[in-house]
């Protein structure tokens, strides 16, 4: 009985972990490459879910058509935000840049509240079939879909970064922006591409959240904060770390909530972060973080 409980909680944690991993992956890309603490990431995450809800519930699009449509919108939005706001502040101090993303987040969240209301929204998946039993463990079809899409997205992102020309340019900018620029890499285009990719990944996580649970604008701020927790956990600047950190946080929260107490569930991540940083200040897979000068 205890073992099957454990497996059930672990599976639930894996689903949540997939959302965390996807969100954190996008945030980590933007953070590592552009050096921007993007507080609007949570709002973009929710926006993806909201748009997918409108597409499937109000416009009646099937999910397979709604996902690419929403992702295309998110990509475009990412390009616009980068060109309109962030590209103009590339050499600015971290404070104004952070504040711009906070302002953007305030705008997005409150505009969504105005347009869609406070009521949580669902993304219609068309997968209302009976849940699947794996021994004693139960999993709904929409959760399998969420895990599957997440895995595909994470692998696609990895392939993009490790095996394409654009990805190689991104890694070069990540390592040494000046040298990359000298080598003829168009930094402006790489930034635009990276931010759009980050926005799209956040949007995809939001769509999947809406498909399994519900989305509403009040989730934006906690989602951004959680994503930051995940990238500290995994190690700042490490993309595999973001994925690993996300899965770990999802598992830890679910097991803690299942076996100990649901009250402190949201604090689990922060406690983990503090514990990990005491022993490994650079996170699980990160480079050393101590200050030199």
């Amino acid at each position: 009985m205890l073992l099957s409980d454990f497996l059930q909680f672990a599976l639930n944690g894996l689903v949540t972990g997939c959302f965390y991993a996807l969100t954190a992956l996008g945030l980590s890309l933007v953070f590592g490459l552009m050096n921007i603490v993007n507080f609007a990431h949570g709002a973009l995450f929710v926006l993806g879910g909201m748009l997918a809800s409108v597409a499937t519930e109000r416009l009646g699009l099937p999910l397979w058509a709604a996902i690419p449509a929403v992702l295309a919108i998110m990509w475009g939005l990412g390009v616009v935000i980068e060109a309109g706001l962030l590209a103009r502040m590339r050499d600015a101090h971290i404070l104004p840049v952070t504040l711009v993303t906070i302002g953007l987040s305030v705008f997005l969240v409150n505009t969504m509240l105005m347009l869609f209301g406070t009521e949580p929204k669902n993304v219609k998946t068309g997968l209302e079939g009976a849940p699947i039993f794996l021994g004693d463990v139960i999993i709904s079809q929409s959760r399998i879909l969420a895990i599957g899409v997440s895995v595909v997205a994470i692998i696609a992102t990895w392939l993009l970064i490790s095996h394409t020309r654009a990805g190689r340019a991104m890694r070069a900018v990540f390592q040494q922006p000046e040298a990359a620029a000298l080598a003829g890499i168009p930094i402006a285009r790489i930034h635009s591409f990276t931010f759009a990719l980050g926005t799209t990944l956040a949007g995809l996580a939001g769509i999947l959240l809406g498909a399994v649970f519900v989305v509403d604008p009040s989730r934006a701020e906690p989602a951004a904060v959680k994503a930051f927790v995940v990238i500290i956990l995994g190690g700042i600047g490490s993309l595999p770390g973001a994925v690993l950190g996300g899965l770990l946080l999802g598992l830890a929260e679910s097991l803690w909530g299942g076996f100990v107490s649901t009250g402190y569930m949201d604090a689990v991540g922060f406690v983990l972060v503090i514990a990990i940083l005491l022993f490994r200040p650079s996170g699980l897979l990160g480079a050393p973080a101590s200050r030199v000068g």
């Binding site: 953070f31 971290i94 906070i102 302002g103 305030v106 500290i232």
Partner: protein
């Protein structure tokens, strides 16, 4: 006119203002502006002078507010003892947190400071037996000022709180001014401008940052105590990110690293939010856009319209650049 004189003039104007303002709501707004000016001045010590982005400032505000709430409601201590106690508790916490986190590199510090405040909020939310959890502390008594048996001020009227807030704000500004002028303040500025260079001339970045962090914590705790006794209620939301956010906005919009900046920021943000009340639903959406525009077009804040924080580095000769942190 120098910056200090303008600050003094503003405080003097504020001192005579109640003679012309009868409206209780306007008085309330002014008192809250004093509170926010205190809070953003305390944050400015860290964000403006040391140049570290602390996103956990609400933790110190909340610790001060809770200290005051617990001591006055459970132990029955008077406000005049709760206020310094709030400062001490918040300052001690800042010492502990700063000692661990300020060693971390810029971006790590940003995120860990936030994590600290969030953990504290969750702990308070969940400790229902000890700290009343989400219920919070209602009926926090108002201060009272008496001398030899005669009550001088009972704080039943807003005017009393107005002058208490103004006095605390003046004290906070004085403390910030003294800090900025002290060797620690100048050292902190040197660290902000050029960390490696500051180290090379024997300034320990960590120690200077820590002193500023603790000073900011103490002042935030005092602001929290004032908040608790004025609003008579304290709940977990005083530990929330929105207070940090508001203070940060005011610091940046006003002008970081200046005395006048947080003051202007608190006034401008307060007035803007009031003016936007007429558009009700769209209020915060518009506010978000205004925030983005303000920061993009005035990254050094309103103060930069008149006072440059310091000459542009490019215009300085190398020797001047070396001296500049100590010249101020």
């Amino acid at each position: 006119m120098t910056e200090n004189r303008i600050v003094l003039l503003l405080l003097a104007l504020a001192a005579v203002l109640p003679a012309f303002v009868g409206d209780q709501y306007v008085m309330h707004l002014l008192i809250m502006t004093f509170f926010y000016a205190m809070l953003s001045t305390s944050l400015n010590l860290i964000v403006g002078y040391v140049g570290e982005l602390s996103l956990g400032h609400a933790a110190f505000l909340g610790l001060g507010a809770y200290t005051s709430a617990v001591l006055s409601t459970e132990a029955g201590l008077p406000f005049w003892l709760c206020l310094p106690a709030a400062g001490i508790v918040a300052g001690t916490a800042a010492l502990a947190v700063g000692a661990i986190t300020l060693r971390l590199e810029g971006h790590f510090f940003v995120l860990i400071s936030l994590a600290f405040a969030e953990v504290l909020r969750y702990v308070v939310m969940n400790s229902v037996e000890l700290l009343r959890g989400p219920l919070g502390y209602p009926n926090i008594p108002a201060p009272s000022l008496s001398f030899g048996g005669t009550v001088l001020a009972d704080f039943a009227s807003k005017a009393h709180f107005y002058y208490l807030g103004l006095a605390l704000l003046a004290a906070t500004l004085y403390a910030a001014w003294r800090f900025a002028r002290s060797s620690f303040g100048l050292g902190a500025l040197a660290v902000r401008e050029n960390r490696r260079l500051a180290r090379a001339v024997g300034i320990d970045p960590f120690r200077h940052a820590l002193v500023a962090f603790v000073a900011g914590g103490v002042l935030a705790g005092i602001a929290g105590s004032f908040y608790a006794h004025y609003l008579t209620f304290v709940g977990p939301e005083v530990l929330g990110f929105s207070f940090t956010l508001s203070a940060l906005m005011m610091v940046v919009i006003g002008g970081r690293g200046t005395l006048l900046g947080p003051l202007l920021g608190a006034a401008v943000v307060g007035i803007t939010l009031e003016l936007l009340r007429s558009v009700n639903e769209a209020r915060l959406s518009i506010f978000g856009i205004l925030l983005v525009l303000a920061v993009m077009f005035l990254p050094d804040g309103l103060v930069s319209l008149r006072w440059r924080r310091r000459p542009e580095p490019a215009e300085e000769s190398p020797t001047e650049a070396l001296d500049s942190p100590l010249r101020s």
